[in-house]
Every structure is written in structure tokens, then in C-alpha cells.
């Protein structure tokens, strides 16, 4: 390695996601990585770190402030371009879809920066996927609890066995083309209205 190590600044208020990006960068051999979580610190941190590459999440309302800094040459050594190559529409789309944006100091070669951007995009996507899965798992757990509760109501009020109670709810779900958790939810609501528990 003769080329000077790139200095990379990651701006993300989501500390977990920022750490995931940082880990990826370090695995790829980048040691000069700075994380900024506090939006108010952006200006001074950019000045101090003089980054070659800046990665920022799109939810961050301070992107306009960041971009305005680039037009002031006294603030930074002008990372003016967004992404590596302005004509690389596919990369830009992938980044915006993933919810991340990147700025690159003028004059950096594409082959040095592209892997960093690709890594950031894939980690942002992985993070979204993880959040979705977590959300699904939460919903799954929630609906399982609801079904259990509804089953209990049916067993008590109708004198059914656990299997019979479950089968009855499942048939209702099939007949009405609804999820079993929705049937369970309706049943609990109805039971409450009728003064049950």
C-alpha cells in the first residue's frame, strides 16, 4: 500500500447503524474513520477531519448545511462531487434507495472510492432489512399472544379443548379470508364488549 489512507467521515444520528458502517470500513482496511452522531458537531468535525469521503444518512436534515460548506473553500478542501462519477446513475439510485448519500473530495480515483460506497450501501440495506425483520418478529410475537388469549376465551366460554378452539378460529379465518390473528383480535374485542375477559 503506497497510496495514502483515505480519511472517511460517517455522519449518522443512528449510532448502531454508524457502528455497523464503521466496522465494515475497518474490515476493509480503512483506519481513518470518524463517526459523528451529534448534528451540531458536523461543521467543526468536518473542518478537523478534512475527510476525503463523507457518508451521511438521508434522514439527516443537515445535508443542506453540509453541502453549503462545500461551496466555501475556506471550510473544507472541497469535497464537491456527490458519489464518484456524476454519470454513474445506477450507483446514485442504489444509494438513494438505501437511504445514504456520499460526498467525495475532488480528484479521487473511482476505483478507490467505489468499494467504500458499495459497502455503505449494502450495510445500509442490511440494516433496514434487520430492522424490518425485528419488526416482523415483534409483530409475530404479538399475534401469537393474541391468538393464545383468544383461544383461552373460547375454551372457557364454549367449553372447548385447546385444539378445538384453535381449529374453530382457523376455519373462521379461512372462511373470511383473514389472518388468524385478526380473528383472534375481533374475538377478544367482542368478548370485552360482552363483559367477558
Amino acid at each position: 500500500m503506497t497510496a495514502k489512507q483515505l480519511s472517511i467521515l460517517v455522519i449518522d444520528e443512528n449510532t448502531i447503524r454508524a457502528s455497523i458502517i464503521e466496522a465494515g470500513l475497518r474490515e476493509a482496511g480503512h483506519d481513518h474513520v470518524t463517526l459523528v452522531h451529534d448534528v451540531h458537531a458536523i461543521a467543526s468535525r468536518v473542518r478537523d477531519a478534512q475527510p476525503d469521503v463523507i457518508v451521511i444518512d438521508l434522514e439527516n436534515p443537515n445535508r443542506d448545511m453540509l453541502e453549503s460548506m462545500f461551496s466555501l473553500s475556506r471550510a473544507v478542501k472541497r469535497p464537491i462531487a456527490m458519489f464518484v462519477d456524476r454519470s454513474d446513475q445506477a450507483a446514485i439510485e442504489a444509494a438513494v434507495d438505501a437511504g445514504v448519500s456520499a460526498y467525495v473530495v475532488d480528484g479521487l480515483r473511482q476505483e478507490r472510492v467505489k468499494p467504500i460506497l458499495d459497502m455503505a450501501i449494502s450495510r445500509f440495506n442490511a440494516f433496514s432489512r434487520m430492522e424490518r425483520e425485528l419488526e416482523d418478529a415483534r409483530n409475530e410475537l404479538e399475534s401469537r399472544k393474541i391468538v393464545e388469549k383468544a383461544k383461552g376465551i373460547l375454551m372457557r366460554s364454549q367449553g372447548l379443548s385447546e385444539d378445538e378452539a384453535y381449529r374453530r378460529m382457523r376455519r373462521a379465518a379461512m372462511d373470511q379470508n383473514r389472518k388468524i390473528s385478526e380473528i383472534a383480535h375481533s374475538l377478544i374485542t367482542a368478548s370485552k364488549l360482552l363483559g367477558g375477559g
Partner: protein, 409 residues
């Protein structure tokens, strides 16, 4: 009837998103066969990026944004055009209670007289300079914004050098109050409702308004990707007709209660309806009592949504003035052609509404309301003009630019 065409527009939570919101909520888009979805964004950079990659077909944009993009001043290269403006006015200059107290001590009285307020601010700045105090810091929302240019225009015309005597920083509109509360800025120029929000929080005092600095002046536009507009001409025309009808609805005072309610929803501005109603009526609580401002925000009257190319050229003249771009005949032409009254006329012609015959006008020429040449019916423009009495004649752009340079001294 065929199914509606889906169209997605990005917007920032500001009063002048009203026309887009009304187009969706009051069925004007649907009447034109458009299923309009509105997506709230957190930065103008996101608006630009998402229109670039096609997440948005159209967007609420700062009027200088398409000009800056076409001049290659943005980190992402992209061709944009503005076939319609989204109203006139809507901004104010607001300062912290502390700065207001100092300005009042120097003779500032109220927000009706920008020159007097500017003179007081200048005196405060000179006093602070003698005492060795920190430079006052003002926030604006974007370098390529009406806010930045009208704040600088006002300061410079009052003998304050925006580059030397104050520091101008970028603050996102919804964060202006926080920034002031934390002492990071002493004042800001921003669109409503964010001035009123800061005043209501007891943090700030409104010093003057956009309509007092430059009466009947442009602020936001409908921004469209140039290639998209080329490929979807008739759909864009349908959208412009829907937005025209929505603007008339927004301009009727009798609808302001309902409009304020619509805008106050969590998905839009998420602010109290009473505060938005006051801004729609131009009756702002300044921090020193409620004041009524003439033409504070104009969504319909005075050809408020016509994309005047003289407005585009004025913004360009300020980009040159403050060093954002160098002046050339070619750059001026790029700026002028960013606003597209031809598309506006083609879209609205079938409606038989009055359309200005000219694409440019002399800004600051009308002291009183004046009927102007139109295609049909009647159209009254003005009064317009800058508070310092200067006139911008787009036919003499070079002379105007030369007269403003150097900025001061």
C-alpha cells in the same frame, strides 16, 4: 373513465406547500385524473436527489434551486425547470429577544419599516464591534434560496456587509427555534410557520417580512426534471391546471380556516391550525403585538404562480453578486430558461384564464395596483418593489449586476 395516473411530489413542511396540499386534499388533482401523493422531506438536498432518481416526479422547490442546478452549482448534476411558481412572499426575518432589545435601544420600532430596522441593526453591529463582541450569526435555509438573497439584499441596502459584518449559516427550517434557543444563531430568515413558532415559544421577535423587503416577490416553485417534462408534456399540463385551481382555492380568504386545518395535519406541517391561519391571513404575532402585513403570502392574486423570467434573472443577479457564479451571457440565458412561462401558458390556455403576455417585467416599477396586458379577461399586478426604491430591469441586467458590485464599501 380510466384510472388516475399516480404522481408523487416531495415537499418541505412550509406554508407555501399549501397549493400542493390543496391540490391533493381538495380533489383538484383527482379532477385531472392524477392520484397525487405528497411525501414530506427533511432537506432540499433530499428533494433534489429524489427527483433526480425518479422517486418524485415533481417537487416543492426553492425558486433558485432549478437555476443553481442548471448552472452546475450543485453536487449532483441535473437539469430542472420551473413551469410554475407556488406563490409570492411568505418569509420573515426574526431575531432573538436579546438582539431585538439591543435593536430597540438603537431606535428600531416595528416590522413595517425595514430601513429603520436595518439602521438599528447596523448600529448594534458597530457597537458590538467596538466592544469586541462575537460576530452576529444569522441562519438561512439554503445558499440558493430566496431567504439567503433577501436577507443579504436587506442587510447590504442598510449598509451591513453580509460577508464581513455578520456570519450567515445554513439551518433547516424546523430547527431554527432550537438553534436560537441554544444560542447558535442570533437571527434567521425563514418561511412561515417557523418565525411564528419561534415567537410563540417566547424566543424571538419578527423584525421584518419578505413582502416588506421586496413586495410581491417569488419564493418557491414547482420543480420538474427537464427530461421528465419533455416525456410527459400532457400529464404536466394536467398537473399545472390542477395546481392553478388549487391556488385559486388557497387564495380565497373564506377557505383559510379549512386550509389551515389541512396544513396542520401531522403528515403536513404538524403545527397548530391557529398559527397557520394567522400566517395565511398575514397577521403575525411579532413578539411585540400582532401586525397585519400587506401581501404577506399571496398564493393566487397578482399572477402569483406565473413563472416570471425576470424573477429567475433577479435570483441569478444575486448569485453573481455573492460569488456563487460568474456572470456571462450564457449563464444568464441558462438562468432565464430555467423558468418556463411557455409551459405555463400552454397548460392554462384551455381554461380561458388571464395569462400575462410578457414573460419578464421590470421589478419595482409598479407603485400602485396596475392592469397589465393579458390573453383574456383582466389581470392586476402590483404594487411591487424593493424597500430601498431600487428597480430591477431585466433588459439592463449587466448594468444592474455592475451597480451591485462591489457589494459594499
Amino acid at each position: 373513465m380510466s384510472a388516475s395516473v399516480p404522481l408523487t411530489a416531495g415537499f418541505l413542511p412550509l406554508l407555501d406547500s399549501a397549493i400542493l396540499v390543496a391540490a391533493r386534499e381538495k380533489g383538484f388533482a383527482e379532477e385531472e385524473g392524477i392520484a397525487l401523493t405528497l411525501v414530506r422531506e427533511t432537506s432540499w438536498a433530499n428533494i433534489r436527489d429524489r427527483i433526480a432518481v425518479g422517486h418524485f416526479e415533481v417537487a416543492h422547490m426553492l425558486a433558485p434551486m432549478p437555476i443553481a442546478a442548471n448552472l452546475g452549482l450543485t453536487p449532483m448534476r441535473l437539469g430542472l425547470l420551473a413551469p410554475m411558481s407556488l406563490g409570492l412572499g411568505g418569509n420573515a426575518v426574526t431575531v432573538s429577544q436579546e438582539l431585538w432589545a439591543a435593536m430597540a435601544g438603537e431606535g428600531a420600532t416595528g416590522p413595517d419599516d425595514p430601513a429603520a430596522a436595518g439602521a438599528a441593526l447596523r448600529a448594534v453591529i458597530e457597537r458590538r464591534h467596538r466592544k469586541g463582541d462575537d460576530t452576529l450569526r444569522f441562519g438561512v435555509v439554503h445558499p440558493h434560496s430566496g431567504h439567503n438573497f433577501e436577507l443579504r439584499y436587506w442587510l447590504a441596502a442598510c449598509g451591513i456587509d453580509p460577508e464581513r459584518d455578520v456570519e450567515i449559516v445554513i439551518v433547516p427550517p424546523p430547527l431554527t427555534s432550537d438553534a436560537m434557543a441554544a444560542g447558535r444563531i442570533d437571527g434567521f430568515c425563514v418561511g412561515e410557520p417557523w418565525n411564528s413558532v419561534a415567537v410563540a415559544a417566547g424566543l424571538a421577535h419578527i423584525v421584518t417580512v419578505k413582502a416588506a423587503i421586496w413586495r410581491s416577490s417569488p419564493e418557491k416553485v414547482l420543480g420538474v426534471r427537464e427530461d421528465w417534462a419533455g416525456e410527459h408534456g400532457s400529464l404536466l399540463e394536467r398537473l399545472l391546471r390542477a395546481l392553478h385551481r388549487a391556488s385559486l382555492w388557497c387564495g380565497a380568504v373564506g377557505n383559510h380556516d379549512e386550509l389551515a386545518d389541512l396544513l396542520s395535519a401531522p403528515a403536513y406541517l404538524n403545527q397548530p391550525a391557529a398559527l397557520l391561519r394567522a400566517a395565511l391571513d398575514g397577521e403575525l404575532e411579532t413578539g411585540g403585538g400582532t401586525r397585519r402585513f400587506q401581501d404577506f403570502f399571496v398564493p393566487a392574486q397578482k399572477a402569483a404562480i406565473f413563472p416570471w423570467q425576470s424573477h429567475a434573472l433577479w435570483f441569478y443577479s444575486q448569485m453573481v453578486r455573492w460569488g456563487q457564479v460568474s456572470h456571462s451571457a450564457e449563464n444568464a440565458e441558462t438562468a432565464r430558461r430555467s423558468f418556463r412561462p411557455d409551459i405555463y401558458r400552454a397548460a392554462l390556455k384551455p381554461l380561458g384564464v388571464p395569462l400575462p403576455s410578457a414573460s419578464m417585467k421590470v421589478e419595482g416599477a409598479l407603485a400602485v395596483p396596475t392592469p397589465v396586458g393579458v390573453s383574456a379577461g383582466q389581470l392586476v399586478l402590483g404594487p411591487d418593489g424593493f424597500f430601498d426604491g431600487a428597480v430591477f430591469d431585466p433588459a439592463h441586467l449587466d448594468a444592474y449586476i455592475a451597480s451591485q458590485r462591489p457589494a459594499l464599501r
